[in-house]
Amino acid sequence: MPAVQETVERVRRIDVDQYRYGFETLIESDKAPKGLSEDTVRFISAKKSEPAWMLEWRLEAYRRWLTMTEPTWARVNYPKIDYQDIHYYAAPKPKKTLSSIDEIDPEILKTYEKLGIPLREVAILEGVEPPPGGEPSANRKIAVDAVFDSVSVATTFQKELKTAGVIFMPISEAIREHPELVKQYLGSVVPTSDNYFATLNSAVFSDGSFVYVPPGVRCPMELSTYFRINERNTGQFERTLIIADKGSYVSYLEGCTAPQRDENQLHAAVVELVALDDAEIKYSTVQNWYPGNSEGVGGIYNFVTKRGDCRGDHSKISWTQVETGSAITWKYPSCILRGDNSRGEFYSIAISNGHQQVDSGTKMIHLGKNTSSRIISKGIAAGVSQNTYRGLVTAHRKATGARNYTACDSLLIGDKCGAHTVPYVEAKNSSATFEHEATTSKISEDVLFYCVQRGLSQEEAVGLVVNGFVKDVLQQLPMEFAVEAQKLISISLEGSVG
């Protein structure tokens, strides 16, 4: 396994608690004043030149939010968040109106370059295009939407996507250009009253991605959004809405990073997926927000609501996530299996090290007939971190023939960390077949001894075992992400061995 060698090399080069993406970009930015009030909501809405109905929608969410209390059921501890001490909107100060990518602030472009995200479309030379019937993946392209603090700075490959009929744009633009689609679907999966953080997001979300794939279209390339928090004292509230119309397919990738800071920053996103008849959405996340330093100071609070609605028959939604960052993760990508014969999948690797706290999992809600779901969750806890899997599988009375398979395994590295499993399995239908299994263990001494005896160092051996442990999930990631994820895993675990 060459990748393992590579990860181990990488681990060696990096000191403990070194976060690769911790740099800060110095650019001028335009911020909303600190604090949250109706005026803040109006300010954001005005900044985005939103129509009146959108403002009304936000205000309604804000008023609802005022009546709600912060949830406390998750196994995470953090000091009370002062919601009045956050900037709810920060945008890189525009020098002038942008007409092409060349006009984006070079500092931002540099940031993305440092992150390894190409925002420039690499022109395909004539004659190099793959021959008909040839291997298309040899020349894979990814369309990227880059979100910097509160605004989307660039979306690549717009033209090519337009030819295919795919709409991929910042959601703020979509609200203006495709109000009928946004009106129909926004909040239909995660209603504004859903939970504390989702409601807050509904009131103050600033940007995010919007994807619409028309009937029968297989999106010609992977779509990707890269989120970056840069400003100090800001919260990031992005909103993603993906609609796969009948018989379409789309694969969407999401990555995130933030600078290294002593303060905790709030990230409360909402992602809504809608799959109509025979449609399929594959949503992959590599979450690498700043996790705080080795003392547990700083880091991002990642309180995210992600939900997919398999609204049509034979539809499918698949979540894959690699969670390595954030001081606190509170995230449960879920599937509502409404259509008959629909399918939901959840593949997760959650790694916690240092003082990180992860409370993540999924919900599979079986409503339609012959719906099936699969949950594979791998939790790895090291340092003094706490790693919790919390999942719900439920079959409604009418969900005849519902099937679920759940496997959640936890690996403990060190004796100061904790790994927890809190599954809820609810069957209200006799023909539902649910299987759930969970194991927790440490890396077997025998296995390590076997590897070391064959010439691997202790670290290499752990790397080998961990990579084997998470293999089932890594296989589900698109190729580009799988490589990145594998590297991330090795970085997150560094310092936990020996």
């Binding site: 936890s410 759930h436 194991t439």
Partner: protein, 441 residues
């Protein structure tokens, strides 16, 4: 829980009921004080509801429609009724302790030839005249659980059994809880079993109703302390009346190299909840807990287990089976906690539910909470219907649909029942399961 919900009618009625009976409850001074504190703790939450995580699936505010007055001392008629019911439950050779409507009934009890080193007293006697240490132990269960707190406040009677070091009981001890009163009432009991070092015993708890006794509420709790190198086998059978409530708790602690084997089966009661906390206090101990729910009609049965691995080198096994028919609702909540430093813990939990009808419901919540790394822990949960191909196989060999189902159900619950070591007790459990299957028709 950050929202304190307003109390419903039932909760209020209970508060008033405590005020009325407070002075009649056994034990003065410190005991009365402890009762008051417990009731205050209970009163702050009231009847547990679904917004409390622990009671998510058993919402007593919805299920307990009316609160019943505290049971009166059983009269002659009740005792006579109870005697008949007890006869059917008697185990050959077992020492019998009978509680009728929450009051110890010496005439129905059978303690002949009790081994030396075994003392049996009533809770009432211990609360009124017992030593302070024992009284303190009786108040050890955690009042954080509202129904435990209510029990602490209201307990009227029960049995307190002490088994000295080195004494191994040859015959089982059987505690029979009988509801015998003609008027519907609430029964509050608490019992304690203290097993010394190198000792051994078998304890059977049966919950039944006399003929014709229908709506009543049983609130029981059991405190067990198992000494070093001791072994306790425990069987509890809930065959309460079909309109009854049974809310029971158990708090078990194990010393070093101790062994606790427990089996529980619920086939009676309209609503039942068994909440057990098993804590390891000494190294090298082992616990096997097995449970079966057999439900039909509109029965609701909840088993909530908390396995506390506080010390290293202990092992626990949990096997739970639920068979749910009609509109029955089975709940299993199992929580295994491995505390920091409880290395070399070996904990397994397996829960399976069999749904026999489209309106049946089974909820499983097997939880693992692990703070030590050198452990092997696992849990599994399955839910499903009877295997069509197995049914077909049996049908093809001439069994009727019902017979085929019965055979498969027996096999399904068999795995849990087989854990009972004592042959007579195993037969007793099998007979209870048989009764349920026959009643199913």
């Amino acid at each position: 829980m950050n929202v304190v919900l307003a109390k419903n009618e039932t909760g209020r009625a209970l508060s008033e009921s405590f005020a009325v009976v407070r002075d009649r409850l056994p034990g003065g001074g410190k005991i009365a004080e402890a009762r008051n504190t417990a009731f205050e703790v209970y009163d702050r939450v009231g009847l547990p509801h679904r917004r409390l995580e622990d009671w998510k699936y058993t919402d007593l505010r919805a299920l307990m429609r009316e609160v019943l007055p505290l049971a009166a001392e059983p009269d002659a008629a009740a005792l006579k009724q109870a005697a008949a019911a007890v006869k059917l439950q008697a185990i050959k050779g077992a020492r019998r302790l009978v509680l009728v409507d929450g009051v110890f009934a010496p005439k129905l009890s059978e303690l002949e030839g009790l081994e030396k080193g075994v003392t049996v007293r009533t809770l009432r006697a211990v609360l009124e005249t017992g030593d302070a240490a024992l009284q303190t132990q009786l108040f050890t269960p955690d009042n954080a659980n509202p129904m435990v707190a209510l029990n602490s406040a209201m307990m009227t009677d029960g049995v307190v059994i002490e088994i000295a070091n080195g004494v191994v009981l040859k015959q089982p001890l059987q505690i029979i809880h009988v509801a015998g009163g003609a008027t519907p009432a609430a029964i509050f009991t608490r019992s304690l079993l203290r097993l010394g070092e190198d000792a051994g015993a078998t304890l059977v708890e049966s919950y039944i109703a006399a003929d014709g006794v229908k709506a009543y509420q049983t609130h029981d709790s059991l405190i067990v302390a198992i000494g070093d190198n001791s072994r306790l086998d425990h069987v509890r059978l809930i065959e309460d009346g079909r309109d009854a409530f049974n809310i029971s708790s158990a708090a078990v602690t194990l010393g070093a190299h101790a062994h606790f084997n427990t089996f529980g089966m619920t086939s009676g009661a309209a609503v039942s909840r068994y909440q057990a906390t098993i804590a390891f206090a000494g190294e090298g101990s082992r616990v096997e807990t097995n449970g079966v729910n057999l439900l039909n009609g509109r029965q609701h049965a909840d088993t909530t287990l908390f396995m506390d691995h506080a010390v290293p080198h202990c092992a626990s096994r949990e096997v739970f089976r639920a068979v749910v028919d009609d509109r029955g609702h089975s709940v299993f909540q199992g929580r295994i906690v491995v505390r920091p430093d409880a290395q070399k813990t070996d904990a397994k939990m397996m829960t399976r539910a069999l749904l026999l009808s489209d309106d049946a419901e089974a909820d499983n919540k097997p939880e693992l909470e692990i703070f030590a790394d050198d452990v092997t822990c696992g849990h599994g949960a399955t839910t499903g219907a009877l295997d069509e191909s197995l049914l077909f196989y049996l049908r093809a060999r001439g069994l009727s649909e019902k017979e085929a189902q019965a055979l498969l159900i027996q096999a399904f619950v068999g795995e849990a029942i087989e854990s009972i070591v004592n042959d007579d007790l195993r037969e007793l459990a099998i007979a209870a399961a048989q009764r349920w299957l026959e009643a199913r028709g």
